[in-house]
């Protein structure tokens, strides 16, 4: 197990390097010019100087190497220092600067992360909490009206794109009923009950949209996995021993059916960070997705590159975690 984990971790490094290189080269080819927002009256030689100041003067492989160094050494040191409070951890020198705001990319990401984590993370949590019981009961009473309704709702939730359900909810709850605000207010500080209620109200719709989508997917897996296990021989044995139905389903079957579901849940965690781009756009949540879109529109190459590689790291990491979880939970699986 240990050697497997180590080997996978080592293999992840070239994978991530390659992904970073691909994204870097894609951005290198892109026609967007970070200088295009500047006034046209700037003379060409000044313009050239400004380009050099942005670090655009050197060959691409030198810039890639520099970015790589900053990304893997300097930025993590600052993040660590901010998290632990030890200032001696900081590596001095240049940081990855956003073209748009001229401030370090890591700081902007740290500012935007809480919104995304709150909205998308909560909806993922709710999705799991809703999906698991529904999946269990649907499978236990297969083809009952509850199962039919549950399967239909999960199919609908799985098929409706968030850029349709989002405006639909805005229309019903903000425009017709007036219960929730249309726009998410990021500057709201929760310091009183009134503000807490306000925060709850503005989070309700984006969280609901994403919960519906996440719950729909997890329910399908949970139900299928329960159905696979309910027909196994050990279930009949447990019943024959005279165990109560409750123990048979909630202990014997549930524990075995959760194995694939837990890995699916782990695989889905990176989407907490990446998958909500559209929902954030619809509800104007000022999170990482909105940051990425803004950076792409503004040709903010360092920001797009850093964010995409962070997303890629999360995906690779949680793939690995899912594999390890699978082996930990299921003693029949051995990788060595």
């Amino acid at each position: 197990m240990f050697t497997f984990t180590m080997r996978r971790l080592l293999l992840a490094i070239p994978t991530l390097l390659f992904i970073a290189l691909v994204i870097f080269l894609l951005l290198e080819l892109s026609p967007g010019d970070p200088m295009s927002d500047m006034p046209l009256t700037i003379p060409p030689e000044v313009r050239q100087q400004m380009r050099l100041a942005l670090g655009l003067g050197e060959a691409w492989y030198i810039r890639f190497y520099k970015w790589l160094y900053l990304f893997s050494v300097v930025e993590p040191s600052h993040v660590l220092a901010n998290m632990t409070g030890y200032d001696w951890l900081r590596v001095e020198g240049q940081r990855i600067l956003s073209f748009q705001t001229r401030s370090p990319v890591a700081d902007i990401i740290a500012q935007r992360l809480p919104q995304t984590l709150w909205v998308v993370g909560l909806s993922y949590l709710f999705g799991i909490l809703v999906a698991v019981p529904i999946g269990i009961y649907s499978a236990y009473r297969q083809y009952s009206w509850f199962d039919q309704a549950g399967t239909f709702v999960s199919m609908v939730g799985f098929s409706l794109p968030t850029f349709f359900t989002g405006p639909l909810l805005i229309l019903i709850f903000s425009i017709w009923l007036g219960w929730f605000p249309i726009i998410y207010d990021t500057t709201l500080v929760v310091d009183s009950w009134a503000n807490f209620l306000k925060q709850l109200r503005q989070m309700a719709m984006p969280v609901f949209v994403l919960t519906l989508y996440n719950a729909a997917q997890i329910t399908r897996f949970m139900r299928a996995s329960m159905l696979d296990n309910l027909t196994q021989d050990y279930v009949r044995t447990a019943r024959a021993k005279g165990m109560t139905e409750r123990i048979v389903v909630l202990v014997h079957v549930l524990r075995n059916s959760l194995i694939p579901v837990v890995t699916v849940i782990a695989l889905g965690i990176p989407t907490i960070f990446t998958g909500a781009i559209i929902t954030e756009q619809v509800f104007r949540v000022n999170g990482l997705g909105a940051l990425l879109i803004g950076a792409i529109y503004g040709s903010d190459i360092p920001m797009v590159l850093t964010l995409s590689v962070v997303f890629a790291i999360l995906i690779v990491l949680f793939n690995l975690i899912a594999d390890i979880l699978y082996a930990v939970l299921d003693p029949r699986i051995r990788y060595d």
Binding site: L26, S159, P161, F163, P167, T274, I277, Q281, I296, S308
Partner: protein, 305 residues
């Protein structure tokens, strides 16, 4: 003497599949809905001969814009007085075409890589590493960057509409072939060890014919299932890109674009984003149900029960 031996003509296996498919009510309804939507988009314009891009001029513009549902304009008109019914058909043509062509390209690529990886052991390691790599890419950001990247160049080469179509379809195919490739590779690995493949090889069948005649027909069912689901993915991806403003140009209607345009008028004219939204949802829902039904129908363990 020839006895009355009741001889039943050999029944094509696809009839069995169809029989099983028919018992799945959701899939059947899904198919009817999907066919209706396709007819609406592709046959509709022959009957409803209104130009989706025609803007009324002069005083007509003031009179005809922002109309509600009426007989003359079943879905009303937009802020420039264009007929929404015709725009819905035109938008559907684009969305469905993107979905179907994107699906075909993605399936071709996925099957090719899956078969090569499964059949030729030497290519297996490299190709599966490549698949893992693609699975680790953050897809939506990459799609957005690609669309920003090639927009101008392809528009200059093929014209705006064809250029964008080619770009979106290629981008969708390049970012969605991985699942098909994995499924196909797994199946090919298992099929390769079967006796009939050994028999075919022992009479000197070259690999190319072996794959085309003996292996491909047997991986057809998982490929068909992922093909239907891929249509849904492709339609959603295209709509998401258009919704974010990275897809087709603004005056060119696609369902995703129409939703995005309508969101600005959500307060006063909610139908303008709701109708295309409902059409996308219905299409994706019906396609997913068809996929579910196909999966059951093509599974020989379930068939005949």
């Amino acid at each position: 003497m020839t006895d009355a031996v009741t001889f039943r003509a050999p029944r094509n296996q696809w009839w069995d599949v169809w029989d099983q498919f028919k018992t799945h009510r959701g899939a059947l309804i899904g198919m009817v809905v999907f066919v209706l939507i396709v007819l609406f988009c592709f046959v509709g314009p022959l009957i409803w001969r209104v130009d989706p891009t025609a803007i009324p001029s002069g005083r007509e513009l003031l009179r005809l814009r922002n109309q509600g549902f009426s007989l003359a304009h079943p879905f009303g008109t937009d802020n420039l007085g264009r007929d929404m019914f015709a725009r819905m058909m035109k938008g559907g043509q684009v969305s469905l075409a993107v979905g179907i062509v994107g699906m075909i390209l993605s399936i071709l690529l996925g099957t090719l890589i899956g078969v090569v990886a499964g059949y030729f052991r030497r290519a297996d390691g490299v190709l599966m590493r490549l698949t893992d790599l693609f699975l680790a890419l953050p897809l939506l950001p990459i799609l957005l960057v690609m669309s920003m990247l090639f927009r101008e160049r392809l528009s200059a080469l093929f014209g705006v509409e064809v250029g964008m179509f080619l770009m979106i379809v290629t981008a969708i195919a390049l970012t969605s072939w991985m699942r098909t490739a994995r499924v196909v590779r797994g199946d090919v690995l298992a099929l390769k060890e079967r006796e009939y493949v050994l028999a075919a090889r022992s009479i000197g069948t070259p690999p190319r014919r072996l794959i085309v005649r003996h292996i491909l027909p047997n991986v057809l069912s998982p490929v068909m299932v992922s093909a239907t689901l891929m249509i849904a993915t492709a339609i959603i991806t295209e709509s998401a890109l258009s919704f974010l403003g990275m897809g087709f140009p603004p005056d060119f209607p696609t369902w995703g674009r129409l939703v995005a345009d309508g969101v600005d008028y959500l307060q006063d004219y909610p139908s303008r984003s709701m109708v295309p939204g409902i059409l996308i949802s219905l299409t994706v829902l019906s396609v997913n149900y068809i996929g579910d039904g196909l999966r059951d129908a093509l599974d020989p363990r379930i068939r005949g029960r």
